[in-house]
């Protein structure tokens, strides 16, 4: 597009899409093709992730952009992310232009089911290349696939690859280049006459009726509209063309049914019959199917007693290691920020700037960054479980228990991911087809204890709950308390979901239907990549949002900083100096004066006045005004509460020069009458509040985007805040009498 060379236009970017069933190694292949040089964005108007990157071609004249589409079993769309697939393939709804080529990623070990989507893709009128992935697994299972014969049957190039081992990638790249302008295959199954007649009729009437489409509705689009009653394509077209189309579709379906065909089944049956015939010619079994390790593993993992025990054990190990492994790294980070604060205090002259840097930034941001190790460990566990295929087993196992929620096992994966972070959890509800089930899952997802709550739990539990060993040292009281916090959210979610299912989101529960993919070793690159992305997101939020909140809280807690206080305390200092104390006593007296001075500044600050104003509301929870203020200030993100406490207590002079960190500071905090603020009951009340509240702007924004309405985020925030207050109140009132 350079203006200086008008004759030569910039090379035209060719676009290639990767499409395949879930769990076909599509993303691994995408990474192998693009070498992690990816741009990650969203499809317009949605939160569906759009990954794009460039193939590393020798031929610089034809840059080839590869787009990784969400996994789909069929072009008939029900779930939100499936809808994107056909939109992207047809280049409509502002998604993209039509791709120049489709790479259909097919799991060779699972050829029959995977070819279903490929036969649909053959009819799109776009050049197609089949990447036959996981050839190694297919061979290990004792089958030989004649790729040349398969290519002849499908009429397209078929490239065997093993994406995880980077085998066949170059051949695939070459095939992509060669096929870009190749003619489309005309091999595809033929449908019964009654279906073909209705399809042609529908296409004609869409073209005549001015559906407002720029292109004539393709045959495959007409098929997905006609043969998928109530699906995405039907509702989309009916919205455009009016009720007349709905009646026309009903009439055409009636005619197909009266010809003796089942509308819902005919497409699948024709395609599977065609595929069976292809497989018969292409696949030969060289050895009897060995007893697969995957099945042997499933004998244990999907057992309704042992499987559950294994699941609980894994979760136990996960939480225990989050606690144990992270501790040394945490202490190091904590120490670093303490030392940094001390150093900065020495370098910067006393005053507002020193206070801002030391008390606002170093104490606030440092307090949050301390929790990076835990978050990384938690994501490590979840990424491994997801990548090896265990998550689907967990969903299977939990199906009967999810019945308690009025949901099915599919909702379990979003809920489990929400233990790391509700945002990806809410995004992963897109695989749930039923709208009501999906909304209920979205609304209870923020009740799962996410990693942002971890800082609050770890700080307070570590500081105030004794490390008594339980069950013969198997688990400590601290880890048990942590586990209990994780269970509280999940337990409360049950009645909440049931109430939602019976009121605002009333509807029948949908039966479970889910593929359980073959187990595989988790790919270290994918696991690492996921940890890295989450860690980065956390650091960015610590560097921006939390940084900003820390500064605001510092400013509210520092100003107006009246000079009168300094004058009074200066007089006291001079009086102490004249009183003829011993050196030691004088030091103690001066330290006391300094603390009182800092405390008085804080009480007189804007933050202090605000806090004292709300104190009556939080006092029944056992909180002092500082905790109440920290809780309110943490509205944008829960983890901010730790930063806020760090800032508030630092400003209040709770920390001495040799900072032993926030924990020691909290221990030293007292009510005006000298009683310590924190005890076990107060700590439990705070963590229960944070377990149940929805102090997370990102979650609320995600709910808004996914539900396309403000109703649901507002409902979520209201019900969770009410639950949190009542929960904290009950906890404190019970614990203060018991503990």
């Amino acid at each position: 597009m350079s203006a200086s060379i008008p004759v030569q236009t910039a090379p035209r970017v060719r676009s290639v899409v990767l499409i395949g069933n879930p769990n076909t190694g599509k993303s691994t292949l995408f990474n192998a093709l693009t070498g992690y040089r990816q741009r990650i964005g969203n499809y317009p108007g949605t939160t569906v992730e759009r990954r794009a990157g460039f193939i590393r071609t020798e031929d610089k004249a034809t840059p080839i952009e590869v787009i990784d589409l969400p996994g789909a079993y069929s072009l008939a769309a029900r779930a939100a992310d499936e809808a994107i697939v056909l939109d992207a393939l047809l280049g409509r709804a502002g998604v993209d232009r039509r791709p120049d080529l489709i790479v259909s990623v097919v799991d060779a070990a699972n050829l029959g089911r995977n070819l279903f989507l490929s036969t649909q893709l053959l009819e799109l009128g776009v050049p197609l290349v089949v990447a036959l992935n996981m050839m190694d697994l297919a061979e290990a299972s004792g089958v030989r696939i004649d790729t040349a014969a398969l290519a002849a049957e499908l009429g397209v190039v078929v490239v065997p690859v093993v994406a995880t081992k980077q085998i066949g990638i170059e051949t695939l790249e070459k095939a992509i280049l060669d096929s870009l302008d190749a003619p489309c295959s005309d091999h595809c199954p033929s449908f019964p006459d009654c279906v073909c007649a209705e399809l042609d009729g529908l296409r004609n009437s869409l073209a005549d009726g001015g559906a407002g489409e720029h292109h004539r509705a393709s045959r495959i689009e007409a098929m997905q509209t006609l043969l998928d009653p109530g699906g995405y394509h039907e509702s989309r077209l009916v919205k455009r063309c009016g009720r007349g189309l709905a009646e026309e579709l009903a009439e055409r379906r009636r005619r197909i049914a009266s010809a003796g065909e089942s509308v819902a089944e005919v497409e699948a049956r024709v395609r599977y019959t065609w595929i069976d015939r292809v497989l018969h010619r292409v696949v030969t079994r060289v050895r009897p199917r060995p007893r697969s390790k995957s099945e042997a593993a499933d004998r244990l993992f999907t057992h309704r007693v042992f499987g559950l025990a294994v699941f609980l054990l894994m979760m136990g190990i996960c939480f225990q290691s989050v606690y144990a492994w992270a501790a040394p790294v945490m202490d190091a980070i904590d120490g670093f920020f303490g030392a940094l604060g001390g150093f900065l205090a020495d370098v910067i002259p006393a005053g507002a700037v020193q206070s801002l840097v030391v008390n606002g930034v170093a104490a606030g941001v440092g307090a949050v960054l301390t929790f990076l190790p835990q978050i990384l460990i938690l994501f490590l566990f979840l990424a491994i479980l997801e990548d090896c295929g265990y998550m689907a087993r967990a969903a299977f196992l939990m199906d009967r228990w999810m019945g308690l929620f009025g949901l099915n096992g599919k909702s379990f994966i979003p809920l489990l991911s929400s233990f790391a972070c509700a945002v990806p959890g809410i995004l992963s509800t897109r695989t749930i087809e039923d709208r009501r089930d999906r909304f209920v899952t979205i609304l209870i997802a923020p009740l799962m204890s996410c990693s942002a709550r971890l800082p609050v739990y770890v700080l307070l539990i570590g500081a105030f709950i004794p490390a008594t060993p339980l069950l013969g040292g198997l688990i400590g009281l601290q880890a048990a308390t942590l586990l209990a916090m994780y269970l509280v959210g999940a337990a409360v979610a049950v009645p909440v979901a049931l109430i939602l299912k019976r009121t605002v989101l009333k509807g029948p529960s949908q039966s479970f239907l889910m593929e359980l993919p073959t187990y595989k070793w988790p790919s270290p690159r994918i696991v690492f990549f996921r940890m890295y992305e989450q860690g980065k997101a956390f650091c960015i939020s610590a560097g921006t949002l939390i940084f900003a909140v820390a500064i605001v809280i510092w400013a509210l807690g520092y100003y107006p900083h009246p000079a009168a206080i300094a004058a009074v305390r200066q007089a006291e200092r001079e009086a102490a100096a004249r009183a003829g104390h011993s050196d030691k006593a004088l030091d103690a007296r001066l330290a006391e004066i300094n603390r009182d001075e800092a405390g008085e500044y804080l009480r007189q600050s804007f933050l202090g006045r605000m806090g004292q104003w709300i104190e009556p509301a939080v006092k029944p929870l056992g909180w002092d005004w500082r905790i109440g203020t920290a809780a309110i200030a943490s509205f944008p993100a829960r983890e901010v509460v730790v930063a806020t406490m760090g800032t508030i207590y630092n400003l209040g002079g709770g920390q001495d020069e040799t900072s032993a960190g926030l924990r020691a500071t909290l221990h030293a905090a007292t009510w005006p009458d000298g009683r310590p603020v924190y005890n076990v009951a107060v700590v439990l009340s705070i963590i229960v509040f944070f377990a149940l509240c929805c102090q997370c702007a990102a979650t609320l924004a995600t709910i808004k985007r996914e539900t396309k309405s403000w109703t649901w985020p507002l409902l979520t925030f209201t019900y969770m805040t009410a639950l949190a207050y009542v929960g904290a109140l009950a906890t404190y009132q019970i614990a203060i009498r018991w503990v």
Partner: protein, 78 residues
């Protein structure tokens, strides 16, 4: 009556037992989903683990099925 004896619901299959799908008697939405996953007339289903939900093999893949789906799929034992 004799025909009834060999046609049964998927939920009646025992571990390791295989049968052919005869029909899927579900609402169209569910029927379409099941069909796309491979539950079409003539397809062979093998029960891996009966239960609620059950685990079956269909077109080479392990699929978990909830109670209702198991009841709605009519199969024919060979």
């Amino acid at each position: 009556m004799e025909k009834e004896a060999v046609q049964d619901r998927l939920s009646s299959l025992k571990t390791g037992e295989a049968a052919a799908v005869v029909s899927v008697k579900a609402a169209q939405t569910a029927a379409k989903r099941l069909a796309d996953m491979g539950f079409v007339r003539g397809a062979v289903v093998e029960m891996i683990r009966p239960g609620k939900p059950c685990l079956v093999r269909i077109s080479g893949t392990c699929v978990g099925l909830g109670v209702e789906h198991q009841r709605n799929i009519v199969v024919h034992r060979p």
